[in-house]
Every structure is written in C-alpha cells, then in structure tokens.
Amino acid sequence: MLLENSGFFSSEPVQTALIVGTCAALVSAVIGVFTILRGNAFAGHALADVSSAGGAASFLLGINPLLGFLGMAWIAAFGMEFLGVRKVRERDLATGIVLGAGLGLSALFLYLDVTTTSTTGAAVSVMFGSMFAIPQSLIGPALVASAGVFLLVGLLYRPMMLTAVDPDLAAARGISLRWIGLLQLLALGLAVAVCALAIGAVLATALLIGPAGAAIRLSRRPAQAIFWAMAIGLTAVWGSIWMAYESYYWFSGNAWPVSFFVVTLVFLFYLTAVLVAKVMGLSARQKPVIWPHCEA
C-alpha cells in the first residue's frame, strides 16, 4: 500500500501531527457548533487570533506553548465577557477592541522573541502552525486540554445547548446564564488553544468554525451537527496531514505546510455543504427557530 511504502505511519512527526490534529478536529467540532449557535463566530475567531500573543510569550518565558495559547485565550475571553457581550452590536465592538489589543501584544512578543532569544520561526509556527514540528512532549497536554473540553460539554450539554439557542427560555428554566456563559468560555479557550497549537492562531478559526458551519447546514439536530462536524474536521485534518506528507514527493522535497491543506479542505467542505443544503432545500436560516423546540 502507498502509505506503508512511504513510511507514513512510522514517521514520528506524522504520529504527533495525527494525534494533535485529531484532538483539534474533535474539540473544535463540539465547541464550534455551540459557538455558531450562540452567534459567537467572530468572538471565536478573535479569541484564536489573540491567543497568538500567548503563543509568542511562551517562547520568551520558556513555557509550554499550549499553556501560552490557553492563558491568552482565557484572558481575552474574560475580557470580552467583562466588556459586555449582551447586544450583538456592542459585542462585535468589544470583540474587535480586544482583538486589536491582543494582536498588538503578539507583535511585541514576537519582536522580543527574535531580538532576545534564539527562537527561529516563532512567528510562522505561532501564527500559521507547524504541525510536523510539534514536539512529542506536547501530546500529553493536548490530550488533557481536549479531555477538559469533553468533560465540560458532557456535564453541561443540555443547559449549554438551551442557553446557546434560546437564552430567554434557559433563564426561565432557572439556568444561570452567567455561569453557563463562563464555563462555555473556558471550554472555548481550551479548544482554541488546541487548534492554535495544531494549525496556528490565525488559522485556528478555520477548524473552529468551518466544519461546524458546514455541519449545521446539513443537520436537523445539534447532536447530528456535532457528529458531522467531527467527521468533516477529521477528514480535513487527516487528509491534510497525508497530502502535506505526499507533497514532499510532488515538489521534489519541498513539502507544503499542513495548515494550508487543512484550511483549503475545510473551505471546500463548507462550499460543498452550502451546495448540498441548497439542492436538498435545507435552509440554514430556519435552524435556530426549529432547534430549541427539538431539544427543549
């Protein structure tokens, strides 16, 4: 078989990429669906971008980059929550302002990285990811962070889902919107950190929003959407790792980066989902109206 001949599965960087990539695809599928249902896609994107400051700082401090991404994602998440995220217009404003400030920090930390330490390629790996260069020592932390996401969502699935699709109904049922919102942000921060580690802070949105966005177009129920988002995310990530590996042979040793293939595949899946939804007469706009009644 092609894969066996080329040593795909026995390659250490490929194994690490497969594990971390799988984590990223799975957590982003779950969190992505919630994020989109809450209308927080832009906030999710901003969080991922801002987490780059943490990734950049981790080189300076000599700490685990996953912790760096996570710390900054959480700070930004609570910053946005604190600045007020009730009305959509205000939320976009608060998100935009936190995004700008966070990227400013990234610029500073990346500058300090290259001017005071011997780290090379910090900018590329923080912003766009270097999946084949992820150290094996990060597999454990990535698994723990992903388990954290599944634990949070597993325990709070129903209240989270209800809050996401109909906050008023959730409040009427005695769910604390503040607490659910906060826990949701914790989970989002974890997912962002794992995605940023895999494909870079700037591209993390593609995994976080893309597969979930495509899946929601094709599904009638949230659980179904999560399932499809996982399937699409995993296909995109695994396919990309394989294509990046094979591209070594296409371009005489100059392999293309995994992140490029991930983003491209996710985009193609989304386009396909839009087309399929059109052909099958599924309208995305009706979903938020139908869904709460399915679940509640």
């Binding site: 040593g7 026995s10 250490e12 090379t120 260069a133 995994v258």
Partner: protein
C-alpha cells in the same frame, strides 16, 4: 562656505562617540579648517567603519588598527541574526560610516535597504558576496565560514582604507600580511583534519558551519531541505526529519553539529537524541562569541570538530 554634504562627510570622520557631545562645537571649527585648506587635521582622525556582522567588524579592526573605529551591528551570539530587525539608531550608525562591510545573499538585506535610502557616493560598501563573485541564488549565506573569505575581505578593506587615508597605505598593507599569517594555524588544522578524517559523516541542524565542514572534508548527511527549513523557520518535511532521526539512531554519523543561535523544539529533539546515543555534539555559532577574534573563533570550532571525531568529546559552548 563649503557645500553642506562635504560638511557631513567630515563630521563622519570624527570618532562616533564624539559626535553627539561635540558636534556643535566642532562644526564651525571644521568649516574653518576646511576653508583654510587644513583638511589633513580632520582626515588624520580615525576612519569610521561598520561591520554589519561582528566577524567582519573584527577583521576591519585588525586591518585598520588605531586609524579606524569600528562598530558591529549584529553581535549578540544569543539571538538568530536571520531575524534581525534594524532600529533607527542602527540606521544612523550605518549611514554615518565611511566603510561598511556586509555579507549579502539576503542575510542582511535590511542593511542594503538602509544604505540605499541614504545614497552617498563617498561611502565605501564592501559586499562579501560580490567579493567572492557569488550569485544571489547561493543557498548557504554563512560566507565567513569559508576559509578563503576573510583574506579577500581583509584585502578589500585595506584597499578602501588606503583610498581614504593614502598616507597609511604601508601600515594597512602590513596588517593584511599579519592577518593572512595569523590564519595559517587554522588552515593547518583544517588540512590535518581533512587528511586524517576526510569523509567523516556528520549531521547538522542548519547550514551555518557547512562551508567549514566541507573544507574539512566532512560528508554532510542531513538533507539540505531540512537544514533550510530550520534556518528559515518553516515546516520541516516529516521524511527529512525521519532521515535525520535514522542517522542519529543508527550511528551513521560521527559528529552532530548544531547552531547555538537557531534553535526550536525540533533542533532540541535532535540534540537530545544525539546525546542519548552518545554521539559527540559540537555547538557552533553564527555570530562571533565574545572574547574571540575571528581567527581564534574559527580555530576553536575546528578544534572542537577534531576533538569530537578524535576523542569522542562534545563541545557545546565556546568559553
């Protein structure tokens, strides 16, 4: 009055440390001397030169001796020079110099831009790449590791210094001869290494010392694309990483050479694997470390290579 840009040129010939404090006092004096035809007084002051990379600055200093003040821009051996970012102070330093030596091959393209932004026909710029007639497509920019580079640089520096201060021509020429002689011990160590250990298989993280390794007859086993990926901080191909890991695991190399200044998690993993397999490790520098001259630095690194292959000794840090 003398034309303004002439004034500027004379100000440049004052040692840099005097510039800020004394320039206002000196300006009328310079104009006066110039007007009286006493230019010698000013020209006799030291020539201000910049070596963009500190190893070039070191050679300028050895050739110019007491008649030149040299500054180096890239001189921190703890950072990666490939990612250097120039500040306005650096730009001032560069455009104020009478002689600038820079490496070329994209290694210091920021310096090229700064110099182009402030054209001055009087400034003498030596591009080492041009000196060696190397095309822009040259893959490995670390030219100072080539044994034949510095004699050419020394010669070119002496020529420019002589143009600026013809009265010292003999002094500069004598320094070039002294410099060439002082390189001999290094050349001998390279020649002996090549004779005894030619063909020694080695692995590297990135190409910094490749020219020296080639001159010493080593066989660099690491795929070029992996070296380039680490040097440029791009995604390494898993296949290339696999080849490197195999080289270490199966003891197909005798020395593992790594760049102290270009490190990431991948180079760290190669390093720990090499140490675990008891393969001698030699850490090399991209920027001349403190306490060394160019000659003693190159000699120390070549000796470290010899110690590695002869006695299985690792040299991770130059002290």
């Amino acid at each position: 009055m003398i034309p303004f840009n002439h004034q500027k040129a004379w100000i440049r010939s004052i040692p840099n440390h005097c510039l800020r404090s004394r320039v206002t006092v000196l300006m009328p004096l310079i104009a006066l001397f110039a007007g009286l035809g006493m230019t010698q007084v000013v020209v006799a002051a030291t020539i201000h030169a910049v070596g963009v990379e500190n190893e070039y600055a070191n050679v300028i200093g050895q050739i110019g001796g007491k008649y030149v003040t040299v500054s180096a821009i890239e001189s921190n051996p703890d950072t990666d020079p490939h990612t250097f970012e120039a500040s306005p102070a650096v730009a001032r330093e560069m455009v104020g110099a009478q002689i600038v030596v820079r490496n070329g091959i994209g290694y210091d393209s920021w310096a090229k831009k700064i110099l182009a932004a402030d054209p001055n026909p009087k400034r003498k710029v030596i591009v080492v790449q041009d000196l060696l007639h190397l095309p822009e497509s040259t893959k490995n920019p670390h030219l100072w590791y080539k044994p034949e580079t510095m004699p050419a640089v020394a010669e070119a520096v002496a020529q420019r210094l002589t143009e600026l201060d013809p009265a010292r021509a003999a002094y500069f020429a004598a320094n070039v001869r002294k410099f060439d002689v002082s390189l001999k011990p290094w050349y001998q160590v390279i020649a002996r290494f090549k004779a005894r250990f030619g063909g020694t298989p080695v692995a590297v993280t990135e190409p910094v010392a490749d020219y020296l390794l080639q001159a010493a007859g080593c066989d660099i086993k690491t795929p070029w694309n992996l070296q380039a990926a680490i040097m440029n901080g791009t995604d390494p191909a898993p296949q290339d990483v696999g080849i490197q890991n195999q080289l270490i695991k199966h003891h197909q190399i005798k020395i593992f050479v790594y760049n102290q200044q270009v490190t990431d998690s991948l180079t760290a993993s190669f390093l720990s694997k090499a140490k675990a397999e008891n393969i001698p490790v030699v850490g090399v520098y991209e920027t001349m470390p403190t306490g060394y001259s160019y000659q003693s630095w190159m000699l120390a690194e070549t000796n470290a290579l010899r110690n590695a292959v002869e006695r299985g000794m690792s040299t991770t840090v130059l002290k």
